[in-house]
């Protein structure tokens, strides 16, 4: 293996011998707008265009009520949810349980055999409940990050995905998000940019929804005070830095 490493690098070096390093052009600015209300409108428009369903809310109780209605309408009996502290509205999970929905336990890191059983149990959930760390206005994308209390299968396995996004987290473009939130990528093992429900066109280019992931994505775009956002981000930062893997700061990375 090491032999190949040396040989490959050597071949590249001798190939580029004497050739100058080519320069990179700056990307053009695509959406210059910083006006937040038009950003939100654009987000809603694009998300709906790719088949997500957006609900706007400016009151906490209305947000909770809307989630309960979505779950009720879809006849959800079993739900996977992120930990209350990882959701933008911490009382959401309790409200759902009080409403009679059964919670499926998130997987615990265990040995492989029990794990696959747990996941099979997770696969029976009718819906997943998460909170986004970002939204992208020009593509209608939601950004999700994994972490303790935030299982990834929540947004992948169930046929219905309900995600809460605070409107102040909406960025104009993917480039803008990377510029401001690159650190999130460095410190999360999985960051997912999800644009609408799962789809395929593998059979004669005929669009079909819900092939492996969710068939329905409901986004709650909320404007109200989400105190717990800062709280939960802070709580998360605390848990994250307790783990050896995350001690690494960007300065440890080779630049």
């Amino acid at each position: 293996m090491n032999e190949s490493r040396g040989a490959i690098l050597e071949r590249i070096r001798s190939g580029r011998l004497g050739a100058p390093v080519q320069s990179r052009l700056d990307p053009p600015t695509l959406i210059p707008t910083k006006d937040s209300s038009s950003l939100r409108d654009r987000f809603v428009q694009e998300a709906e265009a790719v088949g997500a369903i957006v609900h706007r809310s400016d009151r906490r109780d209305l947000t909770v009520e809307t989630v309960l209605r979505i779950l009720g309408d879809a006849g959800v009996k079993r739900l996977i949810s992120w930990e209350p502290n990882d959701l933008p509205i911490s009382e959401l999970m309790k409200a759902v349980v009080d409403d009679g929905v059964q919670l499926v336990d998130p997987p615990t890191p265990a040995n492989a055999e029990t794990l696959s059983r747990e996941w099979t149990a997770m696969a029976t959930a009718d819906a997943g409940l998460t909170g986004a760390v970002g939204g992208l206005a020009d593509t209608g994308t939601i950004v999700l990050r994994s972490g303790p209390g935030r299982p990834r299968l929540t947004w992948l396995l169930p046929p219905l995905h309900v995600v809460v996004l605070h409107s102040s987290f909406v960025h104009p473009t993917l480039s803008a998000f990377m510029g401001e939130c690159g650190e999130l990528v460095r410190c999360s093992s999985h960051v997912a940019f999800v644009t609408g429900p799962s789809r395929t066109a593998d059979i004669e280019q005929t669009l079909t929804i819900g092939v492996h992931g969710p068939k329905e994505v409901h986004i709650l775009l909320v404007d109200h005070d989400c105190k717990s956002i800062e709280e939960s981000e802070a709580a998360q930062a605390a848990t994250v830095s307790d783990e050896p893997g995350d001690q690494m700061s960007k300065h440890d990375l080779v630049q």
């Binding site: 293996m1 090491n2 190949s4 490959i8 690098l9 590249i12 070096r13 001798s14 190939g15 580029r16 050739a19 390093v21 080519q22 320069s23 990179r24 990307p27 053009p28 695509l30 694009e46 790719v50 890191p109 492989a112 696959s116 996941w119 099979t120 992208l136 994994s146 303790p148 209390g149 935030r150 299982p151 993917l174 480039s175 990377m178 690159g182 990528v185 093992s189 999985h190 960051v191 997912a192 940019f193 999800v194 644009t195 799962s198 789809r199 395929t200 066109a201 593998d202 059979i203 004669e204 280019q205 079909t208 492996h212 992931g213 783990e243 893997g245 995350d246 990375l253 080779v254 630049q255």
Partner: protein
């Protein structure tokens, strides 16, 4: 790479005679092309974005060794492992060793052209492993025992009726020609596969040097599940698929989705940075296999630009040759215009020198390419190389030799023309010759030879000059 058993000409005739294939190709390549046009139109400044994307790719290639080392260091610092493979066999052995040493029995895969290139599936299956493809198109292909015919739509050559019949035969479900029903069948069949496999193998769209992240995109979400549920994630990546930073990645993802399917962003765009870190799910181990297989040798050559390709598939759909013969006729893993350059470049000993001939040099591929790769220029370079190395057609060489002699002696050229004119007149049908005599019939196998005009251009000119002199 797998060497085909039939000759290129035979494969082409086969493809042209296949009515079902024609229907499937007509229905899909056109839709792809119009989607792409709409996708790029939605960018405010598509040309500037493409120029930028191209500059990022060429910059990366111009110091690829540095970026690869940086990428490796950062993958390692977040807990992943990097394996370097000089060729296909070494790559397959690395994966097989990983599987054996961790007692893996079941493997789930998401689409990876690199693993098609190394024929990884065959290697794993003969190593005693269960391997299932999870991309719907690949799954269909695997059930049919075939190979993909398009970079991003592997089952593009099959009609819905054929797919319905296949699922009915292989899975025992009722026959249907409704894609929605077929998709639901595949969803439930693949659920258990995701959750019970110990190893997930994916391709990589881009590796980010500055963070050690892997960017993997799918519309179905099958790659997301492949890299989440199994305990071990193995990512197969060509050494050229590096971008320097997250900012560069953002630009590349923008043009990739638009060029491939016309979407603004692929539905699931996943950025994976190391294995799980105290997360409740996600892989415990992450392995990146970096495959060379002829790529490093291309740096600094006339075809080095081919390494800038981001495998969007746009040039396939735009190509008038691909539109007629489909992917399988090329006989290689990579088809279409990009395949015609990449295949003979990567595998110099293989029987691929005819592929660069399968082009009219119309330039449609260069026109649509999101990173503006000059495919026609490289096709010409490869054709020239074939001629210089003596691998070209003997009769073509003799023909050009004769032509050179005649063209440099006007009297001889005139004699030649009148002899050939007399000959063609004797055999023409409606102004065309359907079959040239030996040794030239292969020229007329796929086209007609025009009868030489009764008056040549120079005869016409001579007469005109005479006429004007008389005035």
């Amino acid at each position: 790479m797998n060497s085909p058993s039939m000759s290129f000409q035979q494969r082409v005739s086969h493809a042209l005679a296949d009515g079902q294939l024609r229907i499937a190709l007509d229905r899909t390549t056109e839709r792809f092309t119009s989607n792409r046009v709409a996708g790029l139109a939605s960018l405010p400044d598509a040309d500037a974005v493409r120029d930028c994307a191209r500059s990022i790719r060429l910059h990366t290639l111009s110091k690829l060794d540095d970026y690869l080392e940086q990428f490796e260091a950062n993958v390692t610092s977040v807990g992943g492992q990097v394996h370097w493979a000089s060729d296909a066999q070494e790559a397959n052995e690395i994966v097989l060793d990983l599987a054996r040493s961790r007692s893996v029995k079941r493997v789930v895969k998401s689409k990876s052209m690199v693993s098609e290139e190394t024929e990884l599936n065959q290697a794993l299956i003969s190593g005693g492993l269960d391997v299932v493809e999870s991309d719907l198109g690949e799954y269909i292909i695997q059930l049919a025992g075939e190979t993909p015919s398009h970079i991003i739509a592997p089952a593009v050559h099959k009609t819905r009726e054929q797919v319905g019949q296949l699922l009915a035969d292989k899975l025992g479900v009722p026959m249907t020609d409704d894609p929605v029903e077929m998709t639901a069948t595949a969803r439930s069949a693949l659920r258990d596969v995701f959750l019970q496999s110990e190893m997930g193998i994916s391709g990589v769209n881009f590796g980010v040097a500055s963070t050690g992240s892997l960017a993997i995109v799918t519309n179905e979400g099958n790659a997301s599940l492949t890299v989440t549920a199994p305990r071990i994630h193995v990512a197969m990546m060509g050494i050229e698929r590096i971008v320097p930073t997250l900012d560069d990645l953002a630009v590349m993802l923008l043009v990739l989705a638009r060029s491939a399917t016309g979407q603004k962003l692929t539905v699931y765009t996943d950025l994976l940075t190391g294995p799980r870190r105290g997360d409740p799910d996600g892989p415990e181990e992450l392995h990146v296999v970096l495959l060379d297989n002829g790529r490093s040798r291309l740096i600094g050559t006339e075809v080095s630009e081919v390494l800038a390709c981001i495998r969007c598939g746009a040039c396939l759909n735009a190509c008038p040759v691909y539109q007629q013969i489909g992917g399988h006729a090329y006989g290689s893993v990579y088809s279409g215009p990009i395949g015609a350059v990449l295949t003979p470049s990567l595998d110099r000993e293989g029987p691929w020198h005819v592929l660069p001939e399968a082009s009219s040099l119309c330039g449609a591929c260069r026109e649509v390419c999101p990173v503006r790769i000059d495919i026609p220029r490289m096709l010409l370079a490869l054709r020239a190389e074939t001629v210089h190395s003596g691998k070209g057609n003997r009769w073509v060489r003799v023909g050009f030799w004769l032509y050179r002699i005649a063209a440099t002696k006007p009297w001889l050229f005139r004699c030649g023309v009148s002899v050939v004119r007399q000959l063609t007149k004797m055999f023409f049908v409606n102004g065309w010759l359907l079959r040239l005599p030996s040794p030239l019939p292969s020229w007329t196998r796929s086209r007609e030879f025009p009868v030489i005009a009764s008056r040549t251009f120079s005869e016409e000119m001579r007469d005109r000059e005479k006429g004007s002199g008389d005035e």
